[in-house]
Symmetry: C2
Subunit: 396 residues, 2 copies
């Protein structure tokens, strides 16, 4: 049988980028291309203890069907924590527990976008979210990211010229892949522009707690007096990505539709996993844990920056991020970026070619994305050394 | 801000039915409306032991990101089991682990259907799947279910008159809500018709192992020589629904697109949960466990049938199902079904009004759906007694 696919899924073709990324699953390759949190940041003993307690004390709740909105104690726990931690959540807001933060992108697109509608994104932006928007047949319009976040003047032009823009997707803290953090002034301007144009903001903040330098800035959601911000929060970077528990805080009217969408997509998020997260908050000092992992990440970021400065100092340009997982490096203009990435794979180092993060991934760019959380310290040293060898192979 | 929703999600309006179903979350209500597996069928001690072992021995694999295709040992385990258990899986097939079987319906619709395309369904059929298809803007065409399954003559007419039908959705065993099991002859005819018309079959078999009477029939997927059947399998009824682990066996070309769709929707299914299922298969006798829960379900079905015959024998008509979770009862023609359901709620018994399962839920029907797996034995006796009281309130 010859299969005929939907238009929206046909647009998600396997690309040359994916072929390069496949190399990252090879255990002999140094994984500077991944986006995994550092395994030594996982609270393993705590999860062991909690999971045992739950299955001993409340096994039926953990194993039976739950409701689409999420496990009520966890919903209460997160709402209280986010109010205290980020001043998020007003009387018109509510919370939905989801199966990883990507599901917030999925449900937002499902409830807001018809095929052909536009999603305004930072350019570059996280490929997983871009593919999610594409999987609904949306068109992407990119707004350049600068060292202090999205260019809000370009955003204004795009909003003026795009009547069918349904939402603006932003990762304000330690953006993936650029590492940029949006300034307070730009956060306020973005909010004002979205409000003026009647467009929703989808604020994705998976890395917010991974700040290693500088002062925390208020989330855009904390400024939301008008019910125009959908906030995606995640435990993947502070607790565990494999548990697939995240959450969305948004105005009730939006959340009611997202809940209907979630019910039709996966019914509810796994109960045992939700209960593990809830007990973790109740039994342990989450702020102390976050402080601990910030130290781990700061050490790794310092190490990678030192290695880059030593091995690639004359070759690449980058802005040191204030947190997160990624360093966004610009290669010299006369270097073929894709060729550089292939040469790196030949030396057993995987990095992500920057065009993966563009609205149109056939556009060219001189950037590559490096990840410092997944590799061991030894891997960082060896990996950047190997990239230095590739750089030195170019006569300059 | 006045929110504007996508066309597809706007079509999923809260209905009068949902208001009635809300009553089912009240703990004082006897839950004959639910579809939960019996809690005493959960292998609680086994899951306790397995989860402890996994988090002691392989905590990083359980807590770190996994790949979208699923945890490889579990993929191998299920493929081997399904080959032995159901003779499913040919050289062109592969497996995708999903976050509950509803995600198979979601991904099938995502990869095959543009907005406005038609999904052919048994009528009545499972409301969760119907809402999933609706959430992609699909049109539903119903084919009546008879005591031996879908009317294949009507199916042929529908196929002839519906060029944009993309797939046929069927629950061949102990169908939800009708309880009907499709005969072998009809399974063969359905397969032949789908092949002739170049239309995919989506075979949803969550209840197949809950057979309490009669002989097992081959799945439609086991007949699939042409790569036209997508099979949705679930552990919700034999192990645990709260873990949210299920699987799809389908031709590789279809599965490749579904995997891309899953990556964009929720990245991957929770690792700990997949590892629990895998170890359960490896360390325990799953066939013996299935035999044990079949006994539990047979006892509950016998009890509910006895109660119905005693309390409602002159009032309702039903065909005793050979397994599953549900009994589909027809009220007398002169009784207002919705009024009957409301009177039941007043007596603290929740049942599902049959129109919830129709393609157009504003159509009328005389049926109600009763579930015998969720209530305790005492709940079954008290619940059906209360329905008998409602029946006796009608002067006849």
């Amino acid at each position: 049988m010859e299969y005929k696919f939907s238009d929206k899924i046909s647009s998600l073709q396997p690309s040359a980028i994916r072929e390069i990324l496949k190399a990252t699953s090879d255990p002999d390759i140094i994984p500077l291309a991944a986006g995994n949190p550092a395994p030594d940041a996982f609270p393993v003993k705590e999860v062991q203890k909690i999971a045992g307690e739950i299955l001993a004390q409340e096994p039926i709740t953990a194993l039976q069907y739950g409701i689409s909105e999420g496990y009520q104690p966890l919903r209460d726990t997160i709402l209280a924590w986010m109010k205290k931690h980020e001043n998020i959540g007003r009387s018109f807001d509510d919370i939905l527990i989801v199966s990883g933060a990507t599901q917030v992108m999925d449900l937002t697109t499902k409830i807001l976008c018809n095929e052909g509608d536009v999603v305004i994104c930072e350019e570059p932006s996280f490929i997983g979210s871009l593919n999610c928007f594409r999987s609904y047949g949306c068109k992407l319009k990119g707004v350049p990211v600068e060292a202090d976040g999205m260019n809000v003047d370009v955003l204004e032009d795009v909003l003026n010229s795009t009547p069918n823009a349904k939402f603006i997707y932003t990762i304000p803290n330690f953006q993936n892949p650029s590492g940029a953090t949006m300034s307070l002034e730009k956060r306020k301007k973005l909010y004002a522009l979205a409000k003026k144009h009647n467009v929703i903001i989808l604020e994705d903040n998976p890395y917010g707690d991974l700040r290693v330098d500088g002062e925390p800035l208020p989330t855009i959601k904390s400024m939301d007096e008008d019910g125009i911000v959908i906030y995606a929060g995640s435990f993947s970077k502070i607790l565990s990505p494999g548990l697939r528990v995240a959450y969305c805080i948004a105005p009730q009217q939006l959340l009611a539709k997202m809940t209907v969408g979630k019910q039709a997509a996966d019914v509810h998020t796994a109960c045992l996993n939700q209960m593990i997260v809830d007990r973790w908050f109740k039994e342990y000092d989450v702020d102390a844990h976050i402080a601990k992992i910030q130290k781990i990440y700061k050490k790794k970021l310092d190490l990678m920056c030192d290695c880059i400065d030593k091995e690639l100092g004359d070759f690449v340009e980058y802005v040191r991020p204030q947190g997160g997982l990624f360093i966004w490096c610009k290669l010299p203009d006369d270097v073929d970026m894709i060729e550089f990435v292939k040469k790196a794979v030949d030396k057993n180092v995987a990095v992500v070619p920057g065009n993966a993060f563009l609205m149109n991934d056939t556009d060219s760019t001189q950037y590559i994305r490096l990840n410092f959380s997944t590799p061991s310290d030894e891997g960082i040293v060896k990996g950047i050394k190997a990239l230095g060898d590739v750089a030195r192979s170019y006569e300059r």
